[in-house]
Symmetry: C2
């Protein structure tokens, strides 16, 4: 019996994996079509179940949205922590944070950037979400400030810079398709290059002319 522990999914594992699949599907739909435009019937149908089945995993639609958001924020803060550890300059940390975040969003989560349509949440959830998002944005602005201080980033307004970069980032789910010509890794690298060039004190003299020709995996 114990032999099978890691190969045959237990009841709980099955439950969790289904729940995760639901979360991914919901996140993808919310990002592509918007929260209000996505019906539970739609999500359920994509998963091959009935709407009522969803209620075994989430008490209501709002909670589903909140769960997407929290997972996204987990990824965000995790990316930030890893970048702080691996990179020394403000620019390096900023770039790595954004790249780790984006790549995970793109392939793990079908992008959970549901920072929009926040008004759909209950006031306490909304407050919690705004607070976490602001903390993340503040951390990113601080990276920009660090970069300006250590000379790796040009003089600029950190607030505007991050508004602009996060806008571009949040928009990516609208046009990125896994079935498209670019892989998640290629897209991440190319977008990071653009962001870096915008802020670097030593901007690259050239960028990739064709994202589809970039390396298919991250060089390690």
């Amino acid at each position: 019996m114990a032999v099978w522990k890691n190969t045959v999914p237990s009841k709980d594992e099955l439950y969790e994996s289904k729940r995760a699949a639901l979360l991914r599907e919901a996140a993808a739909a919310f990002n592509r079509r918007g929260f209000h435009a996505t019906s539970l019937d739609e999500i359920a149908q994509n998963l091959g179940v009935t709407k009522a089945a969803l209620y075994h995993y989430f008490p209501n639609k709002q909670t589903l949205l909140m769960a997407c958001f929290e997972k996204a924020m987990d990824v965000a803060f995790d990316s930030l922590a890893r970048a702080r550890q691996q990179e020394a300059t403000g620019r390096g940390r900023l770039r790595l944070t954004l790249a780790l975040y984006l790549e995970q969003m793109l392939d793990e989560l079908s992008a959970c950037v549901v920072l929009m349509e926040e008004n759909a949440l209950t006031p306490p959830d909304h407050a919690r979400m705004v607070q976490m998002r602001d903390r993340f944005e503040q951390a990113l602005r601080d990276l920009v400030r660090d970069g300006i201080a250590d000379g790796s980033i040009v003089a600029c307004d950190p607030k505007l810079a991050m508004f602009t970069i996060l806008g571009a980032l949040n928009w990516i789910p609208k046009w990125f398709r896994h079935s498209g010509p670019w892989t998640a890794t290629q897209t991440t690298a190319a977008v990071s290059d653009l962001f870096e060039r915008m802020l670097s004190s030593a901007p690259a003299p050239a960028l990739a002319r064709d994202v589809g020709l970039m390396p298919l995996t991250t060089a390690k």
Copy 2:
């Protein structure tokens, strides 16, 4: 009677100005809260009338959305034409196009960038909208190509560059507030500087440290 023609609003002028006000209000609401999250009651209330009154100006909610979109595209192509006339290099044309578009979006129209939630339109309207949007995006990519060819823009992937820039642009209505610390003109200039730095073959060595300290009006 004819004396008053240009001072006292005629019936038609009144009708048109009310219709325009409705369009502005709707555009602002759609951009801030999303199409599906915005109820007609809400728009009507902000205008001091009843929901039913709106139906004297638009046959239904979808048409309202489509009208917003078409106005935005008018501004877009107009900006493009003016930029082509005034600027010689690809970079100059791209920058001016984006700046004209953004500034008009910000103050005239409360930003009508409702390229999202497209699924809300009827198939014919949707097709029409996609076609116009694609034409505009193509024109912008061509400006990037021109810029690369004439040396004003670095080697890069025009498609990705415009996806990124338009993403950042489309996100601006989410955070820009007329009551905020930055004017539309300041914001436009600062954002344009960021975009330009991302793509220019001769990136500026420094940018404004504080958007709120930039000139309040465009220098002419």
